[in-house]
């Protein structure tokens, strides 16, 4: 356990060293936040209460999206590139003989990264957004706690998806296609494009059932107080369910891949 905490801490530090890059990222998130905020204002002034949000809630959704974009690695750029590279070069064989759990090792590192991105790239855009626009910030501290839980679960789901993508490199010479599909899925179905409750009919239902909604839609609904009581537990169960299912799939795939590496001798 202490080992994984150390791995997480080093994941945190690794991203914390790039201060200029962090500041530049915050700047970009803020610019996009402003642009999107005005488009949402235009949309909600035509259709107040669209998707069950009022304008302040819709604007809150915009800024939450910018705050969680890096945290949930919605644009990629986390550990997966490195893992794919290790699989390609065969260095993965060394990792497999280490007395640590490969999946937990990478998960710990990614949690460290996510924590840094949440603090370093999430808070400032959120504060600027709340100063520039009227946002619907929760008054109840318990809602904030529930939100943090939902974000943490979202990060785990995000990790599990990217872990599966990375493992595909064992079979596919060029993993770009799989990574691309996962990335497009994340862009479209997380809520980054538009809140999923604005998606029409069956598309909306599908979007809300897919794992990607754990990245932004679910945490945002928890933050906005749309999921409370039993429904809140349902939201957590949804995220945890996807997390367990995808992590489990990752373990199965990893076991198959390991057998393959051992049989082939690396």
């Amino acid at each position: 356990m202490r080992l994984y905490a150390a791995v997480a801490a080093s994941g945190f530090r690794r991203y914390a060293t790039y201060r200029v890059a962090t500041a530049a990222g915050v700047f970009t998130n803020t610019v996009f936040g402003f642009v999107l905020a005005y488009t949402y204002i235009a949309l909600w002034s035509e259709r107040p209460q669209l998707g069950g949000y009022d304008q302040a809630e819709a604007l809150t959704f915009v800024w939450l999206g910018q705050a969680l974009l890096a945290t949930c690695a919605m644009m990629g750029g986390g550990f997966e590139d490195e893992l794919i590279e290790r699989i390609r070069t065969g260095d993965i064989a060394i990792d497999l003989y280490r007395p640590v759990d490969l999946q937990l090792w990478w998960l710990a590192g990614d949690l460290g990264r996510a924590l840094f991105h949440f603090l370093g790239r999430g808070i400032v855009p959120m504060v600027i957004g709340s100063l520039a626009f009227e946002l619907a910030l929760p008054g109840d501290p318990l809602v904030w706690v529930a939100f943090l839980v939902a974000v943490a679960l979202g990060v785990v789901v995000s990790f599990a998806v990217r872990y599966l993508v990375a493992l595909s490199a064992f079979w596919l010479l060029d993993g770009a296609g799989v990574a691309q599909i996962a990335w497009l899925g994340g862009m479209f179905f997380s809520g980054m494009l538009l809140p999923l409750n604005v998606f029409p009919g069956a598309l909306g239902e599908l979007a809300r059932a897919l794992p990607w909604s754990s990245f932004l839609q679910v945490p945002a609904d928890v933050f906005l107080g749309k999921r409370t009581g039993i429904d809140l537990l349902g939201a957590f169960a949804f995220q945890a369910g996807w997390a367990l299912a995808l992590i489990g799939a990752g373990r199965v795939l990893q076991a198959v891949a390991t057998k393959r590496v051992v049989v082939q001798g690396g």
Binding site: V20, T28, T30, F32, I41, A42, E46, A176, L184
Partner: protein
């Protein structure tokens, strides 16, 4: 200039051939580029499943704005998009290898990793623009017809200047590639929507400070037969070529200053 274009062509051709050694991967990334950039328009379509107009503009009119910036930005992204890697080249020292070759450094940096997959962005811009031209009832005059290609080319030049200026800034702050993204990708997103939905100061800011409004807003609103935004005079619609030339001149000065600073500090 001719030498620069010749060098660009040669280097770009090398990268195209490199890409073609992984054909399947190229096909997928081309599709991915197309799909990812088209998502922006999908978002607009989803909005219009709930409303008939946004900021007083119809779907067709917004498609006109969207397509115009999509094409202009797509061209700039194709030609100059690799310039955001400059900071990385400074950090790992590979910029030096370009300085001992008989071709302009700017050209070599711009042509570096030339990526045909970026045609995906241009393609979706062309499709949306074509759609707009079929559904919007434009009162065509010679001036309007001429302004369309002028707008697209000037827009590409303005965005190219932004890419170049952003790269020049990376000589000072090597990890600042994302700042450039705010103005390029962020600017493109801004211009996809009508100026009427944004705050008046913001519209004036992107007219007089960072003149992105000349990419499409000012000329496109004229073509669409609408009044210029934020109380601006309508003759500004004809200024994009002038603005483009000024932007490119300033960007090239910034680039020279950046390169000079690199050559005197080595970082």
């Amino acid at each position: 200039m001719v030498d620069g274009i010749r060098a660009y062509r040669m280097i770009a051709a090398m990268w195209i051939r490199s890409t073609m050694t992984y054909r399947a991967s190229f096909a997928m990334t081309l599709f991915g580029n197309f799909a990812a950039t088209a998502f922006d328009f999908v978002a607009i379509l989803l909005m219009f499943s709930h409303v008939d107009a946004l900021g007083g503009f119809t779907l067709g009119e917004i498609a006109f704005l969207y397509g115009a910036t999509g094409i202009a930005f797509g061209i700039a992204d194709l030609v100059m998009g690799s310039m955001d890697r400059l900071g990385r080249r400074v950090r790992d020292g590979t910029l030096d290898t370009l300085l001992v070759r008989p071709a302009p450094v700017l050209v070599q940096v711009a042509a570096d990793r030339f990526a045909l997959r970026r045609l995906g962005r241009i393609t979706q811009g062309v499709l949306v623009f074509g759609y707009a031209l079929t559904v919007v009832d434009i009162d065509w005059t010679p001036a309007r017809a001429l302004l369309v290609p002028v707008m697209l080319l000037s827009g590409a030049a303005i965005f190219s200047a932004v890419f170049t200026a952003g790269a020049a800034f990376q000589f000072l702050a090597q990890d600042s590639a994302e700042v450039q993204n705010a103005f390029t990708y962020g600017g493109n997103t801004l211009l996809q929507y009508p100026p009427s939905i944004f705050a008046r100061e913001l519209v004036r800011g992107v007219t007089f400070v960072l003149p992105l409004a000349f990419v499409n807003w000012l000329p496109a609103l004229y073509v669409l037969g609408r009044e210029a935004p934020a109380g601006l005079p309508s003759w500004l619609a004809f200024l994009p070529p002038v603005v483009a030339v000024v932007c490119c001149a300033l960007a090239s000065l910034a680039w020279r200053a950046g390169l000079r600073s690199y050559r005197s500090t080595g970082s």
